[in-house]
């Protein structure tokens, strides 16, 4: 029983992280049809800014570094849109994709050249690793935080998307961007808002990734974003509820295979996960939550 509860919490915290990142990818895709493969670098930038602030100021209180990381992620996400993606906004989708790859390579090599390929230590609060006994299980503080912060972020996002004008505009833009402009809403504002939300989610995810690893390196965002991309496709790419469902399901699958695979083949866990994901996609090509294209939908 205790083992089961612990594994469920594992799945929730891993899945929560994927859900945050999958949402970040999905919200940008749904608004402008861009698959942002530079998203991993948003995480890396958040990590390196935390590292830089730590080096310069000597602040050891990791809790103070966390908001810095989130703000950095929002800033770089919005800045990338302005500098890199806006000039190719009306180009074919492949151009945006290649631009994202380019941005990704430039930022990664910026860190490789100016900092180091090796990882750099960033202070993380010790109490994140403390274990709390809740009777039926012993759980780490970081797991509780990860799960609850993810839940809060999702609630905040739902509030923004349902109750604010800019949120409504983002949802409307997912269906028909030109029509959003024809009711007088500034296209740049909606897109900047989507990138800001996307950056915010990456910032939160970055904090947990760093808290677990204790270090930053130029490639730290690659694997999480790759997994998040799989999660988003699994849920139905472009669908926001789908991103959340896909994120948590992928987390659960990983934990499941971690448990059931004998240790001799445990190294192939991801292969098993991806085979199962492929089977699901053969059964539902539009993803679990995604809907089939309807007349009047965007044709990206």
């Amino acid at each position: 029983m205790e083992y089961l509860v612990q594994q469920v919490l594992n799945a929730l915290s891993i899945g929560g992280n994927y859900a945050l990142l999958a949402l970040g990818l999905a919200i940008v895709f749904s608004v402008i049809g861009l698959v942002n493969f530079a998203y991993g670098e948003v995480i890396a930038v958040a990590g390196y800014v935390m590292f830089a602030v730590f080096m310069v100021s000597g602040i050891e209180y990791a809790v103070l570094l966390m908001p810095v990381g989130v703000l950095a992620a929002i800033g770089i996400s919005v800045a990338l849109e302005r500098v890199a993606f806006r000039p190719v906004r009306y180009a074919p989708a492949a151009t945006g994709l290649l631009t994202a790859f380019g941005v990704s390579i430039v930022i990664r090599n910026f860190f490789v050249t100016l900092v180091a390929t090796r990882s750099k230590a960033v202070p993380t609060p010790q109490w994140l690793g403390y274990q709390i006994d809740i009777g039926i299980a012993r759980i780490q503080v970081i797991q509780i935080l990860e799960t609850s912060v993810t839940a809060l972020a999702l609630l905040l996002l739902v509030f923004i998307l349902r109750r604010t004008n800019i949120g409504l505009a983002m949802r409307a833009a997912a269906r028909d961007f030109d029509m959003v402009r024809m009711v007088g809403i500034n296209a740049n504002k909606v897109i900047a808002a989507a990138f800001a939300v996307s950056g915010f989610l990456a910032g939160l995810a970055a904090i947990f990734i760093i808290a677990r690893r204790g270090v930053v390196d130029p490639f730290m965002g690659f694997t999480p974003v790759l997994k998040a991309f799989v999660a988003a496709v699994l849920g139905g790419f472009g669908s926001l509820p789908g991103a959340v469902v896909g994120g948590f399901l992928l987390g659960a699958l990983e934990v499941f295979f971690q448990i059931v695979l004998p240790s001799s083949i445990a190294g192939y866990r991801d292969a098993f996960v991806f085979v199962l994901v492929s089977v699901i996609l053969v059964w539902r090509p539009q993803g679990l939550v995604g809907t089939k294209r309807q007349f009047g939908d965007k044709d990206e």
Binding site: N165, A172, R175, D176, M182, G184
Partner: protein
């Protein structure tokens, strides 16, 4: 109020609109007629700024707005109910109307506008919390028109408001247009349904293959069997 001077629209090598001169005066209802593929929607889209004007100028209230973005045009007072209605199907009627009022900063004015159009389009009040995608074609058309009116436009461009609707609904839509006209709204009405459009319009333009073929009073066009049969494919004007 709205003045187009030799406006051309090209899609690559295809010339969708060739050198169109058109004007709409304040308080007028002007019909822009023509068969499918005549370039009417291309022209409207270019006026709105959704597709680029390749040459010529668009002036609104004396100012050159040829290069202005769609959002800028809406702020200046140009409203559009586009072809195919294009309501936000994934949002509720309430949310669609809220987005329509995006350019109106004053909350009290927004509320007053909303009350006014819910009274004018009572079906929207009934469907207020339903997703727009669940509405019938006629209801969606009313939503598209009222969404456009929520921005308190000085001129409204209605692109094929009767397209794909049952005759009884078409009649209702044209009644609404007549009501808007009576309220003093300036309207550019794009239609294939020539007879209904001409009954409500003051003046009319006839477009065919990207060019204007006729310009004059709605009455003259109604009475000209030759023009109507030649360009609209009608046996005779009804």
């Amino acid at each position: 109020m709205l003045e187009l001077n030799s406006v051309c629209v090209d899609y690559g090598a295809v010339k969708a609109v060739q050198s169109v001169d058109l004007r709409v005066e304040e308080g007028e209802v002007v019909a822009l007629l023509g068969p499918n593929g005549a370039g009417k929607t291309s022209l409207i889209s270019a006026v709105m700024g959704i597709v680029p004007v390749s040459s010529g100028t668009v002036r609104f209230e004396g100012q050159d707005v040829t290069l202005a973005s769609p959002e800028e045009k809406v702020r200046r007072g140009v409203g559009i109910s586009p072809e195919g209605r294009r309501v936000f199907a994934n949002l509720t009627v309430a949310e669609n109307l809220q987005l329509g009022a995006s350019t109106q900063p004053d909350k009290a004015v927004r509320a007053a506008q909303l009350a006014k159009y819910l009274e004018m389009f009572p079906i929207l009040k009934e469907r207020y919390h339903q997703k727009a995608g669940t509405l019938s074609g006629g209801e969606q058309q009313q939503l598209a028109i009222s969404r456009c009116l929520m921005s308190a436009p000085r001129i409204v461009m209605l692109d094929e408001p009767s397209l794909g609707l049952a005759p009884v609904i078409v009649e209702r839509i044209f009644e609404l247009i007549a009501e808007l006209k009576a309220a003093g709204l300036t309207i550019l009405l794009v239609e294939q349904n020539a007879s209904e459009a001409l009954n409500v319009a003051d003046r009319a333009y006839l477009m065919h293959s990207g060019r204007l073929r006729f310009e004059g009073s709605a009455q003259d066009l109604l009475n000209s069997d030759d023009l109507m049969s030649h360009y609209m494919g009608l046996g005779e004007a009804q």
